[in-house]
Symmetry: D2
Subunit: 146 residues, 4 copies
């Protein structure tokens, strides 16, 4: 059950959008921040041939990339202003081939702490009429002064 | 202690090089396979501005990308010919900012199984005269018929 | 979102109860199987002084023990009869001190596969009038012939 | 490669022995602290029927218990005096059935930080003349004032 307590940062959407704009890797792979709510952040990524592995699926690390960012900003959405988030560690399970027109990583906060937060995330592959889970993450994030 | 038992595939270097050449993401980010031994595989990556996060370090997912590949091919180096490796899951701990001229991910097999293998990997950041550990991975890989 | 597809084993409740009865460790620590549904299994444990760590909380490994079992039987609840489940790996995040009168680990299946299943689990500490999340697990299970 | 830098606590052996004596669970399962060096700690456990799972092996959680403690004290061995260690999270891969006369968990520090440390650990099953790896852990520990 995601933790969606009151945010400590009144400008969280602006702050997270501004921070996301500095994530060069996200621009490089074509990912977009598509939803920011207190404790929940979604990142979307269209399929791209240049990010695939040997079987033509999106590479595990690309799936991890959008999960990591969705989880990190979910943590940041409950942190005080003037702080940023560093990834301490994450674990990803790949559930199905990363094939689809588009992928959405949905990160949520499981526990928001002053220093350490725990987040979960799921990635779905989206096609015309269906949505399929392809990966899940459990991550530990650290809040640091910016 | 890495497991470096006798390889089941006499052409492992050729097979792994051929497989790596099909990893489009590795070409996209500029990673190279720099060492293939039974049970041990290294992947190198030069620093690139377009793969960074908000503080200018290489993004966690990029570090994970080369670790995942080094671990996967370490597993493949002990698997029979005619098989390929899928990542079941991995966990990465980030140890220090991913700053350096070049990064080397070193994957090794901890346990080689018929279906499931367990691998470990470490990434070092390399500068002129020093090498610094920046990340470590523990991963579960699955061997499937090609 | 838990996967609660149709069970392949018509006797799943009996089979899982019979298997649980053979888990000597669960008897040793006083854990009980309290709910078995397709894709979801709960295990309860009363607080016990002899299972604590240096600060008087239930030890992380005890919390992991009931999570591991809840996740394993959640996987088994969707597997064919005549099979059993082995834990390949798990990751646990501790969210809060394990203090309470009673603990309930709730395991669910995230992806049920023929060989490999992925499960999630959460532990709550229960007191008179409240329930508090104290740990979460993401686990990989393997189905093997009994 | 374990990090075995100079300890910050001159009484680390006494402090860790005193702390271990308060780990009630370790006494309950019969585990002993058998080696304490800066950055490296070993915990041993004889086989016990009352700690097994459905196939007669030591349960995954028992193996995790001694790994968690070995990793935690490895972290504590490099922390300042007056602090204690809490487990943030760990991941365990089970490599082989936990069968043997005795088990030894060997924890080492991968990165020692002021707040967060990363540790690795391995468990071997010991019989008369052989030693076999059965599990490996990657863990995140937090240093807190006692």
């Amino acid at each position: 059950m995601p933790q969606t307590s009151e945010p400590l940062n009144p400008n969280l959407k602006d702050d997270i959008n501004a921070s996301f704009a500095k994530l060069v890797l996200m621009r490089t792979i074509g990912a977009k921040l598509v939803r920011v709510e207190p404790g929940e952040v979604d990142v979307a990524l269209p399929f791209r041939d240049d990010l695939t592995q040997q079987l033509g699926y999106m590479a595990a690390a690309v799936v991890s990339a959008i999960l990591d960012v969705a989880c990190g900003y979910a943590a940041m959405s409950l942190a005080p202003s003037g702080t940023t988030i560093l990834t301490v560690e994450f674990k990803v399970n790949l559930l199905a081939p990363a094939l689809g027109e588009r992928f959405v990583a949905r990160g949520h906060v499981i526990r928001s702490g002053r220093t350490v937060s725990v987040c979960g995330g799921d990635v779905a592959a989206l096609n015309a009429n269906e949505e399929k889970p392809i990966a899940t993450m459990l991550a530990t994030m650290m809040t640091v002064k910016e």
